[in-house]
């Protein structure tokens, strides 16, 4: 079966199929066979040509967090993107731009008003988390369509703060 994942903003394909002699993995030209055994709900053991790899994995919404050899990989399932708004990034939905906070925190200040025009990189709001203030900047030139939050409000990294409309 073929899978597509987003990793570091890059779309990657991989195919994995269960056969009698283990799993067949194909990544472009590269083809390998692996014995994969679940050890516990978050741990997988891979045996690939005699080499043993321990893989840690956990899922939160549309993201899979994977740890191998001291490295963390965050893998997203592209088909499920719309279920949540990935933190800190604008999300284009039919020309609309929803701005979310980069991490959960408290809205300190909203710098713009609805229907106001904004320049690219103009500060839209300030969100504080763990004693640090973070400026939320406009990714585009356009205008503010809707503001969903007010100063003092607590937000998570999924709730949209502001909706923008890009200038055409």
């Amino acid at each position: 079966m073929e899978f597509e994942f987003l990793i570091d903003n890059e779309l990657r394909k991989i195919s994995l199929e269960k056969k009698e002699d283990g799993y067949h993995i194909a990544d472009g030209e590269k083809i390998m066979r692996a014995d994969i055994q679940p050890i516990s709900p978050n741990v997988l053991s891979f045996m690939i040509s005699g080499h043993s790899y321990l893989v840690y994995i956990a899922q939160d919404k549309d993201k899979k967090y994977i740890f191998i050899n001291g490295r963390q990989f965050i893998v997203q399932e592209p088909g499920r993107e719309t279920k949540g708004f990935p933190g800190g990034e604008e999300k284009a939905l039919e020309g609309k731009l929803l701005i979310t906070a980069p991490m959960p925190g408290k809205v300190i200040k909203i710098h713009v008003a609805e229907r106001q025009e904004v320049r690219k990189n103009q500060t839209l709001a300030i969100v504080e988390a763990m004693k640090m203030e973070n400026e939320i900047k406009s990714p585009v030139e356009g205008f503010v369509k809707k503001i969903f939050v007010s100063a003092g409000e607590l937000v998570d990294s999924e709730k949209p703060l502001i909706e923008l409309e890009a200038k055409k």
């Binding site: 779309l11 990657r12 690939i48 840690y56 899979k64 994977i66 001291g70 088909g79 925190g105």
Partner: protein
């Protein structure tokens, strides 16, 4: 000895103190805010008292509530940990008045060392070398100008009530002095409610070397050797070690004796740390006293075999130190890495959220002081320190190797942490060579980025993701890209698959 101690803190340090108390047969009382009901320190203490809403000013910094919690639970003493009320002389005085033992220095000493200018005056008088600079807060601008000229640029502006780098800035020329002073005053005012600033000579790229001291209530004082904490980011320590590569036995003895002199001059008791700056020519200058148990105390514990929290409690309960300077020795080498909930790839932005999975590193010579668990939600209200990883080995080289292996063995999924950044620090050739100073991060890690991902590991990660999707049955894959996005279940898509398809 006390029967019950209240711990006025949270996170890894509260847990560290609970464990020490348990070993000593003392009952513990935790305190918690709305954000911490499910935190680890609340779970492991014998009792726990709710002290208010999540913001620290309404809970962990609220003296009335903490004192009331101590009375209500019958605790005879309060351990303040570090941060929050640990160095607040008003709190120490309040405890004294309420007949609760404050496990820390007496309030007079705390007040003295908390005022940097007064501390400088006292140490200067006691014959301790201080950084050349002003020993009082001037009233006129002209006095700053004259002092700066006399010291020679660059000079450092510092807040009298200072700490954590707030209000601190470097001034390189006369033109920058006035705006620098204004900014420094503003910062100091907002951080400490006191706008007093003074000037010091700027010491270029010094090492930060501090000495751990213990003083009982009867005038017995020992030092437990040094820790080097030169690896700092924005004046925050991130890696600490003991011993320091920069000290030889002679300099170590000299600095240690000076640290004891500082403690005596301040009338200080209990555990404390005397911080020095060590310049390129091995001149050392008194910087300040940290009047608390330090975050980095474990490196001293591993090298000396002395449990500093036990000692704090024993001293506070009125016991005499059971050992003298002669009994103390440094053995091997210890390194600590602070594990912060922050994203080094994204300008060190704090990262809160749920810890989906945690695996603590283990093994010979590995200590993990930890305040987190799998399934815990990191709150947004407090300092982002999650845990501390400390290793000990026979020598520095082996300690670095052991630290790297332990960092590789450390799994935290769900939030970003500083682990990958720490690995690159420990494996940096300049760090390995022991050529460290407070400019280390600025000089070598200014435009740090995570190393390119290894292709084999990436493939393995994708395979694991695919395996997970296949077995969780929730997988949907994209069949068209751009424009309309349609999702179908993995089973529907099965027909399209053949080996070697794709790129």
């Amino acid at each position: 000895m006390f029967k019950k101690i209240l711990i006025a803190n949270r996170g890894e340090i509260a847990i560290r103190v609970v464990k020490a108390c348990r070993e000593m047969g003392i009952l513990t009382v935790a305190v918690y805010s709305d954000a911490d009901r499910k935190s680890l320190h609340v779970q492991i203490a014998d009792e726990a008292v709710y002290i208010g809403p999540a913001p620290a000013v309404e809970s962990y910094l609220n003296m009335d509530r903490i004192i009331a919690a101590a009375h209500a639970s019958g605790a005879e003493a309060i351990h303040p940990g570090y941060g929050f009320l640990a160095e607040n002389s008003n709190f120490a005085r309040r405890c004294e008045k309420e007949k609760i033992v404050f496990i820390g220095p007496n309030s007079n000493a705390l007040e003295l060392v908390g005022d940097k200018v007064r501390a400088r005056q006292t140490m200067d008088k006691a014959g301790v070398s201080i950084i050349p600079g002003m020993n009082s807060i001037p009233k006129e601008m002209s006095e700053y100008e004259a002092a700066a000229k006399k010291l020679g640029y660059p000079v450092m502006i510092k807040a009298s009530a200072g700490g954590g780098g707030k209000g601190m800035r470097i001034v390189c020329s006369e033109q920058e002095l006035q705006p620098g002073l204004e900014a420094g005053r503003r910062e100091a005012k907002s951080a400490f409610g006191d706008e007093s600033v003074y000037l010091e000579k700027y010491i270029e790229e010094p090492r930060h070397v501090e000495f751990q001291v213990l003083a009982d209530n009867y005038g017995n004082t020992v030092h437990l050797f040094e820790r080097e904490c030169s690896i700092q980011r924005r004046h925050q320590k991130i890696v600490e070690e003991s011993p320091s590569r920069a000290l030889d036995p002679e300099l170590r003895t000299k600095m240690g004796e000076t640290a004891k002199k500082v403690v005596r001059a301040a009338g200080y008791n209990n555990a404390g740390t005397v911080e020095f700056l060590l310049d390129k020519n091995n001149n050392f200058y008194f910087l300040e006293v940290n009047a608390r148990l330090q975050v980095e105390h474990p490196v001293t514990e591993l090298c000396t075999g002395v449990d500093l929290v036990h000692q704090q409690i024993r001293i506070a309960s009125g016991e005499k130190l059971s050992f003298s300077q002669m009994d103390l020795q440094q053995r091997g080498h210890a390194i600590e890495c602070r594990i912060y909930a922050e994203d080094p790839k994204n300008n060190f932005l704090p990262s809160s959220g749920k810890i989906l999975f945690l695996k603590e590193p283990k093994g010979p010579g590995v200590r993990h002081d930890c305040g987190i668990y799998s399934g815990w939600e990191v709150p947004i209200y407090y300092d982002p320190i999650l845990a501390k990883l400390i290793v000990w080995a026979e020598n520095r080289e082996s300690a670095c190797d052991r630290m790297l292996a332990a960092l590789d063995d450390y799994v935290i999924l769900g939030i970003s942490t500083s682990i990958s950044f720490l690995k690159d620090i420990i494996s940096h050739p300049e760090f390995r060579a022991g050529r460290t100073n407070t400019g280390f991060i600025k000089n070598h890690f200014e435009d740090w980025g995570e190393k390119e991902k290894n292709g084999d590991e990436l493939r393995l990660a994708l395979s694991a993701a695919a395996f997970d999707s296949l077995n969780s049955g929730s997988s949907r894959i994209k069949v068209t890209s751009g424009g309309q996005e349609a999702t179908v279940s993995a089973w529907q898509a099965l027909g399209h698959w053949r080996l070697g398809d794709g790129r």
